[in-house]
Symmetry: C2
Subunit: 437 residues, 2 copies
Amino acid sequence: MFDTLIRNARIITMDDAAPIIDMGCIGIKNGKIAFIGKDEPPMVYNAADIIDARGNIILPGLINTHCHAAMSVLRGYADDYNLNTWLFDKIFPAEGRLTEAAVLSGVRLSAAEMLASGTTSFSDMYFFEPSAARVIEEIGIRASLGNGVTALSDDFDFDTDRGVWETFELIRDWHGAANGRIRADVSIHGEYTSRPDVWEKLASLASKHELVTQIHVSETQGEQLGCIERHGMTPVQILDKYGVFENRVLAAHGCWLTDEDMDILAKRGASVAHNPVSNLKLASGIARVSELLKRDINVSIGTDGCASNNNLDLFEEIKLASLLAKGSSLDPTSLPAYDALKLATVNGAYAQGREDEIGMLKVGYDSDLIMLDVHNPRLQPIYDPISAAVYAANGSDVCLTMVQGRILYKNGEWFSIDIERAFHDIYNVAVPLIINR
Amino acid sequence: MFDTLIRNARIITMDDAAPIIDMGCIGIKNGKIAFIGKDEPPMVYNAADIIDARGNIILPGLINTHCHAAMSVLRGYADDYNLNTWLFDKIFPAEGRLTEAAVLSGVRLSAAEMLASGTTSFSDMYFFEPSAARVIEEIGIRASLGNGVTALSDDFDFDTDRGVWETFELIRDWHGAANGRIRADVSIHGEYTSRPDVWEKLASLASKHELVTQIHVSETQGEQLGCIERHGMTPVQILDKYGVFENRVLAAHGCWLTDEDMDILAKRGASVAHNPVSNLKLASGIARVSELLKRDINVSIGTDGCASNNNLDLFEEIKLASLLAKGSSLDPTSLPAYDALKLATVNGAYAQGREDEIGMLKVGYDSDLIMLDVHNPRLQPIYDPISAAVYAANGSDVCLTMVQGRILYKNGEWFSIDIERAFHDIYNVAVPLIINR
């Protein structure tokens, strides 16, 4: 007997052995996929809860491998500025005023947005992460959390630094918590905001606890050139020299990676989180995704924070990743639909160190899945569900989101988030800290 | 007394004199805007129908200045092919099998999608256009229709050609019909599918009836180079030589326009319909939008057909237009939100020859408007409604669509389209002609 059985679904499994099951059925037991295959009528009577998908598309929950969830409080606060004005005059001062309550209101709002648009797991880099973990545990979404450690000033002290301290707290209290849904990541904010002795210490911490390391790498040309000036080598090269890539690294952006950088990433089994919307909006550059994939580098996808996007809709990123790969190479066969969808599923799972848990719909995997309502002119007719999901859909087509077998969102309703309270908190706790200053 | 009064709205007027009315009110009488301003309570009691916008965003209905509406029947039928395979092996053969009923089923489906995603007016280039006009009249959306005349073979005869004949029929029966909602356009498919004597005849037809001329121009590098080989000059230059630009021209794509081409377009007051999604997906190139705008050329926006997009969501195009302008120039101040929104509103109205009717919310203009439901985590918080509409929203946030004062779509319901019949027709009339061949 299954806990839940979903019937009459167009299933995109993302399992290369059988990527599509045309009219199929998924049986869920104890939060895991216990059966997946063509509809078999006798099973219908053998589940506590039966969901008739009515031909809707089911696919693995999407994985956002680079975001700063709390930044939803800054959505639309500062657009169309040049990078330095945006960062130093608008974003950093506003962030400096954010209290723990304001950050948590942003995390809750973002979790609501992610669940409603099909994201079931995200990698986050921000501060107040141990507190964010409590919110995430309560909501039921999956997350890999890291405080992006910065060591900008000379009086940085590793043993008392807040970012380091939060990292220890995450490892001690949250790694593997909430039935494995929460992971602690080590996070170095970036080469340009830190120094070699800190990288070495964080690399050995990641190695000791077998953690993924999140880091911003080669996002802008200025960062890339500045690093060469500072260290005589690129960010990837200098970070590799100090042992960062001996662990599994999730490198965000990578717009300016050189061929030599890519060789190092390939050799080290690192992942690159592609952030196409943010990279265009901030005019950072365009990552050479097809080149990365050609070298067997694991490319995943991310939205970055809402201040540079301005939403968390992974369907937008997946489509844009494919469009940009085609447009920038003048080759319309670049990054076809199925490969684009991999960035946000199987590749995302590897990037998070969760490749045996999520990213595919397969017996034994956790039941993190989403349903797209196809009873909508935008998705009709359907010749190929993968094409529909990648090129026609947007996050608003998601009508059901499940994590570890638990339905967290369905048809405009959140079951673990009080959405009115979330809006109330944003306007009462966060917005007043940001405006009128 | 107004027919309809909308209160408590965040209004984006697109009128440079006062682009935003923060908590405002719109009074509608006989399909036109009769009042627009801050909420004035006494008025509330003075309308047949009162709509409380509850802080939702109201903006002018969006204008799609380049599409092939019927091609929704081919959505997702052929992706990720190189251009020649896509066009000659997949799209053209399938189109050759489309009957009038199949084309009309596609037009109806697309109208439903456009209304649900905020488009109230579109420029269409296809065949069976006089029949499509009947469907459009019935649905209540606004459209400028042209049969893109091709003259590929030597036995092309202007007087008996179907495209020319449909153009005459459109002019005779449909120009200005349906209370001005329908316009006949002259349409030349493109330089590469036609010849000078045909351009001359169509140009004089456009001139005689004062019609807009739709034409594909400089979409691909192959088209551009081929034209130079054939005629010793670019498409814009040769078309100008034969008088096409003496009328108001709506040139679609323009990815490969030279500086000299732009000078001609500027001098002639032509419009360029930018199609960012299609241009990337087919790897045609990236139009130099900022360059065009710098020369005071009117740039509007289009989705192109669903076979190369694969949806008709103008919010996607507006955001991508801004992102591409920033990313391709490495300047994040390029095409800011308000300017990007102009492409789909005021600039679209000019491109269609409707600049005194639509594109702005202003007293005396037709009441073509849309409402975005902001009670959604993706759009919260709101610091600036223009930023929310351009960078955070998608077409699914549209909760109300009105053309000439008549509500055609509201909260998932179409009032002039039987959506179940539309789906039924697609699968029974169109899809069988396309698959299994």
